[in-house]
Each structure stands twice: as C-alpha cells, then as structure tokens.
C-alpha cells in the first residue's frame, strides 16, 4: 500500500517539496507544470518504461512545457475534466441559460459554495469577469477578477477544498449551488440527489492533470509501476464510471457509450471538451503568488 500525503492544494505540495519533502510521485495540473519543472525537483519520465503509454491520448501529452529530452516527458497525463457549477435542480431556479452568474446570484446568498483554492476559483472568476486567459496576467485582469471575487464573497457560505463538505451541503440543501469538479456531481447523482453539472454559457474551466516523479524519488521502479497502473484501462474505467473524470487512456472510453460520456461532460476526443471550455494556461511563479495572496485576502474579507 503506498503512503499518501494529501495537501490542501498542489501549491502547498510544491512548497513542501521545496522545503525538502521527498516523495516518489506527485500530481500537478497542466497550469502548474512549467513552474514545477523549472524548480528542478523532478525527473524526466522515460515513456518506454510505461506499457500503457501507447494508448495515451496524444493531445493531452502535448501540453506546454511537457516535452523533455528525446521523447521523454515531465508529466504523464492521467486525468482531465472541468470545474463548473453543480446545482440542485429542485432548489435552484435557473434564469435563462446555465451560467457562471449562478454563483453570483444574490437570491441564493449564503447558499452558495466554492472551492477554496485559487487554482480553480480565480480562473472561474476570470471567466465570469470576461477576462481572456491570454491576458490573465495583466494588472487590469487582476483588478477585474478581484472585483468579481469581492462581489461574490458575501454570498459564499463556505470556501473549501474538501469536496465531501460541498457534496454533503448540496445533498442536504444547505447549498443550492457550488463550484465543483466533475466528481461531485456524479457522486451526488449516483445517490439520487437531483443535481446537475452545469454547462455554463461562458464555458467551463478545463484542465489536465498528471503524475510527475521526484528527482530523488527513493523508489523509482515503484513510481513507474504506479504510473503505469494509473494509465491502465482498468483505472480509466474506474475514473470515468465512478468519478466522472476524463482519463488519459483512449481505450478506457470503450466501455462507455457516447451518450453516457456526454452526460458526464466527457468525450473520446478530449480536446473537443478542453477547447470548448477555458483551458488553463501556465503562469509564472510571480503571478501564482500574487494571485494566491490576493485571493486569500478577498476570502478573509479584504
């Protein structure tokens, strides 16, 4: 059984690793990848050692900053999905189309929830504020996004990265809508709770995450074994069926028909989904720090 260390967010994990925390593998997302690689804390992944590599969907390998020397990669993509609004169809009255405005709806003040990490929330704020992700680093964008986040703050009952809390609150009616990943909606639906994972008219936030190997990983062989099994069809079927996340192995989708996949907001051609939404883009460390600092202050009420 592997040991896990779970962090509030991937930034926290990276900070801890910068402080000398050594693990075999960790799990960043595409947006953080170039920054993670530039810390020099990770080793290239020799894809020839992964038996499932041939079935990995090429478009999600080819991410900015992922290519290493001689066909090696830094991150083996594993899961992909969306951040959007999960809402109670019986308690939340949608006006017009589904939209990010739902999480800014004053009628439901105190009954809205949000993910706590800026890696999701800030980007969703950018979509709401109409900021193009290409310009997300500009001062103007910062001000615009900060303004919408401040506007939202008094409406939010809880900011948390603990998805169980959000799911339970949605299931009890404590929250009528919350920012979540795919899995929350799928889980709640499987329990018979009337929820929907919105397809906001502005587009959802989309991302790809994967696995990286620490440069001093004590068990490199085990790390490869873990990655290979994460990329396997069995894992993929589980990820899709039980959690509603996209998987990186194309064969994992064979068990599911197109309608099921569509219901989950997935597709065998991930880029259709990723491009249709707002695909996160890598940012500098300076940006990341500034964003987190600003967002934390907003959450605290300033």
């Amino acid at each position: 059984m592997p040991n896990f260390a779970i962090f509030g967010g991937s930034e926290e994990a990276l900070t801890k690793m910068r402080g000398g925390f050594v693990v075999d593998v960790s799990h960043p997302c595409n947006q953080a990848l170039p920054r993670w690689v530039s810390t020099g804390l990770f080793q290239q992944i020799d894809t020839s050692r992964l038996s499932n590599w041939g079935n990995v969907i090429p478009e999600i390998i080819d991410l900015p900053g992922n290519a290493a020397d001689g066909g090696n990669v830094w991150m083996a993509p594993f899961d992909w999905g969306q951040t959007s609004v999960t809402y109670r169809t019986d308690l939340f009255e949608v006006e017009g189309e589904e939209s990010w405005d739902m999480l800014w709806d004053k009628r439901y003040a105190g009954k809205l929830g949000s993910l706590a990490s800026g890696a999701d929330a800030w980007w969703c704020g950018a979509i709401k504020a109409g900021v193009d992700f290409d310009d997300i680093a500009s001062d103007e964008a910062f001000e615009k996004i900060a303004a919408v986040m401040r506007e939202q703050r008094p409406l939010i009952r809880v900011y948390t990265d603990d998805t169980t809390t959000l799911e339970q609150a949605l299931s009890s009616g404590e929250l009528t809508a919350a920012m979540t990943w795919n899995s929350s909606a799928v889980l709640l639906q499987s329990e018979g709770i009337p929820v929907k994972f919105a397809k906001p008219k502005e587009g959802a936030l989309t991302w790809v995450c994967g696995v990286v190997i620490h440069k001093d990983a004590p068990n490199v062989d085990r790390a490869y074994d873990v990655i290979d099994s994460l990329l396997s069809v069995q894992t993929g079927e589980f990820m899709i069926g039980e959690w509603g996340y996209g998987h990186s192995n194309i064969k994992a989708f064979d068990k599911f028909d197109e309608a099921t996949l569509q219901g989950l907001g997935l597709s065998k051609r991930p880029f259709e989904i990723l491009e249709a939404g707002h695909f996160q883009q890598p940012q500098t460390q300076e940006w990341e720090t500034r964003m987190n600092e600003t967002f934390e202050q907003i959450k605290a009420g300033f």
């Binding site: 926290e12 801890k16 404590e174 460390q285 300076e286 605290a300």
Partner: protein, 309 residues
Amino acid sequence: MTETSVQTSAAEPAAKPVSRLERLLYRSEALRGYLLMSPTLLIMTIGIIVPFLILVTMSLWTRDGFSFDATLTIANYLRVWNEPIFGALLRRSFWISGVATVATVVLCYPMAYYVAFHVHRNKMMWIILMTLPFWTSYLLRVFAWKVILGYEGVINSGLQGLGMIEEPLSFLLYSKSAVIITLAHAWAAFAILPLYVSLEKIDKSLLEAATDLGDGPVARFWRITFPLSMPGIIAASFLIFIPTTGDYITPALLGGPDGAMIGNFIQLQFGAVNNWPMGATLSIVLMLWIAAIALVFLFITRQAERRVS
C-alpha cells in the same frame, strides 16, 4: 492535565560562602546542577533559540520568486502595520480566543468548585471523568462539533423536531460562534484542572472563620474563595488563551469565511501563498502581541489581588 507550577522558586536562599572550602563546594554544586540541566537546556536551545533567531532573520527577508532575497529590511513589518487585513485578523483571533477563554473559565469554575467542595468520595473518579474526553483526537472532537452544529446537525434536527424552527439555522456553523463553542469545549480540561487544584488548596478553616464572622455564602465566596482561586484562574486563562490564538484547524473546519484567524494566514504563507518571510513576520508579530497581552493581564490581576488583600 497540567499542574503548572511555573513558579520559579525564585527566592533562593542567598548562599554566602564563608570559607574557601565552602566556596569551592558551592561552586561545584552549581557546576553539578548545570551539568544535570545541560541536556534539557541544550534541547531547548536547539529547539527554541536557534529556530527563533532564524525566524527573526527570515522575517527581515523578502520573497523572491521561489527563493528569498536576504537583504535585511523591515518591509514585511511595514506591510503588517499598514495593511488593515493583518490587524483585523489579529484582533479577530484575540477576540475569538478571548471569548473562548472567558467562556471556558466561567463554565468550568462551578464544575471545579463542585468537585473541590461538594464531592467527598471518589474525587479522583470525578477528575478522571472530566478529563477522559480529552483522550480522544482533537481533530475528531472538532469534527464532531461540525456534525452537531451542521445544517442537518443535532441542534437543527432537534429544534426542527420540536417544531421550534422551520428552516435549519445556518448561523450555527461557519461562524465565529462555532469556533468559540468548539474551542471552549476542546480546551475545557485545561481550565478544570488548574481551577480544581487552586480551589482544593484553599484552607477550609478560612471559610469557617468567615462564616463565624457572619458572612453569608455569597460574601464568603467573593471575599475568600474567589481571590484564593485566582492563581488557578490565571493559569487556566493562559493555558487556553495562548494556544488557541494560534489555532488554525478549528477556524479552517468551522469558521467559514468570517471565522478565519491569524493562524490560518500564517499557515497559508507557508503553503499556498508561499511567502515564508511574511509567515515569519506574522509569527513574530503574533508572539509579541501575546506577550504584551499576557503582561497586561498579569499586571491587572496582580493589582486586583493587591487591592483585595
């Protein structure tokens, strides 16, 4: 749990060595004493002084991307002074901890009083009964309060069951009061024990004397019992107030957006925000404020004690 005899037995007998021989003995005794103390002192030095020197140094650095700019500057302190958020968070932390401390001491006092004065058999049993709950995980106790105060929690279900409310009360969870209630419960043992010890120590004949002099129960309590239990009250207040100001678990789980405390922000500086120098600065500022508050508190209680006696 704690019989904080933090008194330092400061009034040492002033040893006045008479002869050279005695002086040598005295010296060697001190030397032996130092030798015995040295492992403890060494560990405390490694564990307190060295880290604190580095913490102070780092608080004078600034963040530079992922590493540090080691030029010494008070920029971080100026930020803490100038940006309203830090002052507000500090005030909120002290308010929450302060209210929790007062609530805990006030609620535990009658309990400790009861055991000290009205329980005559199986006193130990009562003390064990009062401290046993604190053998369970702090985290799970905090979590349990989330279940009690929650939207479908015990209180809301109960009130709804009784037909007293239509909709669950949402202010119970994710609020300052949730943090205060949980802290008061979680730290109760740290109030009960010092209070009990100080009450138990009170010489009962003093109470009888007061009765003989015609004092009623109330006057007797305020003239004798309460002033004499002051050391317990002070110890309990310190033991609760100080650690709770730095807590970040309870606010993180139960505080909601309005319940965040300074501890949450310190933790963030070492986590997501990744500004260690700022985190160091906030830690130092927190410590200085605690020291200041503790001194003022001690001064006031000393004055009060003097006036009473």
